[in-house]
């Protein structure tokens, strides 16, 4: 009684006094979990690993919410595409137009002209050259027009329009004679001093040596553009800006082709296309991929897929491993023998080749990407439980010989509870360590498969199938932003899990010095 009273009085008196050496209050009591955590956080590498994993998780799961884009949102852009527009030429040789498609000997005409003859024979026919103006000749035979030879041609402003022989002849003649109007094929036309032909005050053609042709039918060549082009060609410019009557601006590039003695005019046309492999910019910090999707977003969603697959696979493996390992270790005898032989068989199956075969088969069956992801998880999980089962069995074999298990037996606790409530909790440390390590290796396996194109498929992103783009060597050499970030994400996650696993192993080990 006195002692107790002493003890009760003591605290008041002792406030300033040191505690006695064997006083419980001197000792800070830590639970085993707290001890493990303390040891874990004292290890620099494991803390670094934890930070890496937390960062990757935030990046993948939170990032997906924060970023304004969707996983498979395709971006488009306007790009300047040079398209062939017209060909321009300053004509310096004779061109001709025949009345009908009969054979006409142009060379014979040139020869006659060179020899200053006004008559020539060709193919048994007699031809007569009639001068209509400078460099403008009419070829007649038997008092009928055969052809017209000219250097200044009649250029239609609408390239789909073809002028008849009579029309061409009348227009060229009118231009040569400087007469302001002419009529052909029952229509009346006016022509000004520059050779522009009007029909009802609308310009339809130009008589000029400057010939603009187009390979494409129906190309409209406005008069203004024609003049600008002519000026540009005369000044030997390589670029031309032209604003049409609607105010739309166009860029043209001019290129002289010596072989044909003409200028290739290309129109810069902005086209709406998928924004593929765009360089990193403010809108897309890591650029866009081959489908015009934002790389950063793909990376985040890919992280989700990779991490979630890792966790599910390890969960399946751990579940099967604990179940079979527990049963095997607890019961021993033939059950143990049977399960361990199954484990041996699984160990012996070459898993990577098998997964590749299964992946190729799923390719052939054209399984939907979503279902395929599910199968992939099941296959990977089913192939990786034996390692866990073996570990659990070994632990349980030694644990079941200990006194506390005899105690549970003496208390009459059911077998089910003995295994799952008394044995399994004691193997949790080893289980956590092996699961953490397995997480890393599963993520690697999944990434390798996706890289080979046998794992997660488009439209789903995974770090592996993002790197798959390097199979195109142009991407590998020029677009680092496509594959390097994904590779580092992968490395950081796997490394993080391995660091944590390593740190946990040390922390759980009671023999550890620190």
């Amino acid at each position: 009684m006195k002692k107790q009273a002493d003890l009760k009085n003591k605290p008041a008196a002792e406030k300033t006094e040191a505690l006695s050496l064997n006083d419980d209050r001197r000792v800070k009591v830590l639970s085993p979990t707290a001890l493990v955590l303390k040891r874990f956080f004292r290890n620099t590498l494991s803390v670094v690993g934890l930070v890496m994993i937390v960062v990757m998780f935030l990046f993948s799961f939170l990032g997906g919410f924060l970023i304004p884009y969707d996983e498979d949102e395709i971006f488009y852009t306007y790009t300047d595409m040079k398209k062939n527009f017209v060909t321009a030429e300053v004509n310096d040789r004779y061109r001709y137009l025949t009345t009908n498609s009969q054979t006409y000997d142009h060379d014979a005409f040139e020869k006659a002209l060179n020899d200053s003859k006004d008559r020539y024979r060709s193919g048994g026919m007699e031809y007569e050259i009639q001068t209509l103006g400078t460099d403008l000749y009419l070829i007649r035979s038997n008092n009928a027009d055969v052809a017209i030879e000219y250097k200044e041609a009649l250029n239609a402003l609408d390239t789909s329009q073809k002028f008849s022989f009579d029309m061409t002849k009348a227009a060229l003649t009118a231009h040569a004679e400087k007469s302001p109007r002419f009529s052909a094929d029952g229509s009346d036309y006016t022509i000004d001093a520059d050779g522009v032909v009007f029909e009802n005050n609308t310009p339809i053609a130009v008589v000029s040596r400057f010939i603009v042709t187009s390979k494409e039918n129906g190309r409209q060549i406005p008069l203004g553009f024609r003049n600008e082009l002519q000026k540009a060609v005369e000044n030997k410019e390589t670029e031309l800006h032209y604003q049409d009557e609607n105010g739309t601006e166009y860029d043209y590039s001019l290129e002289y082709k010596p072989a044909n003695n003409n200028w290739d005019v290309k129109q810069g046309k902005s086209t709406y296309v998928k924004d593929t492999y765009s360089k990193p910019s403010k809108a897309h910090p890591l650029g866009t991929d081959s489908n015009g999707m934002d790389m950063l977003t793909r990376l985040m969603y890919g992280g989700r897929v990779s991490l979630v697959i890792g966790f599910i696979v390890v969960f399946i493996a751990a579940f099967l491993g604990v179940l079979f390992g527990g049963i095997s270790g607890y019961f021993g005898g033939w059950v143990d023998n049977l399960i361990m032989r199954i484990v041996d068989i699984f160990y012996c199956i070459p898993s990577m080749p098998l997964i590749i075969i299964l992946g190729a088969a799923m390719d052939a069956m054209q399984i939907e990407p979503k279902i395929r992801m599910l199968y992939l998880m099941l296959i990977l999980g089913f192939l990786s439980w034996p390692g866990i089962a073996r570990l659990i069995r070994g632990q349980i074999l030694s644990l079941r010989e200990q006194e506390f298990m005899t105690a549970t037996e003496a208390c009459g606790i059911s077998v089910h509870r003995r295994i799952f409530q008394h044995l399994i909790p004691n193997v949790i440390p080893q289980l956590i360590v092996i699961c953490t390590m397995d997480l890393g290796s599963t993520i690697l396996t999944e990434a390798t498969l996706s890289f080979l194109g046998l794992g997660v498929k488009f439209p789903f992103a995974s770090w592996g199938n993002i790197i798959n783009d390097v199979n195109n060597s142009f991407v590998m050499e020029n677009y680092w932003f496509i594959w390097i970030p994904a590779g580092f994400c992968l490395l950081i996650s796997v490394l993080g899990f391995n660091f944590i696993g390593d740190g946990l192993r040390d922390a759980f080990d009671p023999k550890m010095k620190r």
Binding site: I345, I349, P353, I356, T448, I467, M476, V494, L495, N498
Partner: protein
Amino acid sequence: MWKFILKRLALSVMILFCVTFIIYLIMRCLPSSFVETQAMTLSQAPGAKPYAEWLDQLSEMYGMNQNVFAGYFGWLKDFCAGRFGDSWVYNVPVIEKFHETVWLSFIMGAISFFFEIIIAVPLGVIAATKQYSKTDYAISTLALIGISLPSFFFATLLKLFFAVKHQWFEISGLVSRDYLLMTPSQQFWDKAMHLVLPIVTLTIVSIGSLMRYVRTNMLEVLNADYIRTARAKGLSERKVIYHHAFRNTMIPLVTIIGGSLPGLFAGALITEQLFSIPGIGFASYQAMIKGDIPFSMFYLTFMAILTLLGNLISDILYAVVDPRVRIA
């Protein structure tokens, strides 16, 4: 000892039987394999027979019309008799293709294994003797990075740096375009230059686990009582570590190295594929994704045999190297 080996052999044969059956079952049950693809191609030729007829004909030709069990036992009989069949993809006997490719893989594996050992063992020992020092942290981190490095990513980085940016080594393949015009010594050099990057990849990717293994075992030995005794009787630290501790670390090391020797023949599936090295890994990858059953079966069985052989060798070596272990 002999009894133990015989028992293990018998067990290995049983396991092998089950494994091959499972693999055969999977290969046979997968749809759209080689035969279907082939029938599809043939039936699309102008004026060809319909798909179903081709399928029947080809199935009979390739022995696919039997049921799985009959097919498996037929395969097993042939396999045991040494008839491995003809590869469907390569159109040559499986064994011929195997001979053609396996030695290249073995050379690659052996060289990288050699480098792995001469790099990993000293580093592991150093890390263990200087536990918790900066050196230890650096080595452990490097080992973990090696384990965590995705081989395809690392190989691509190597390619980008050494083959594209600097062009010191070749990007892929085994020989250059002008290989046939070279003298034998140049040909050898050419092949060697092509193999540098794959071997570096293989070494770096697999060096980490060996390094960690050495470190863990060395630490265990260093904590043993006889090391304390050795120190107590005044031996130099050098002698303690390299004479007493390292020799004991050699025991698990020799077993694991012996156990991984058969694996050298297995080829590197991913690395060979990445660098287009025509080894056994590359050949079987192509065969597997095209559903070539004879070649895939042969390769998978070969791999299973290698695994079992490796386990057996390491068990036997354990007994041979460590006098304390006696197997009844």
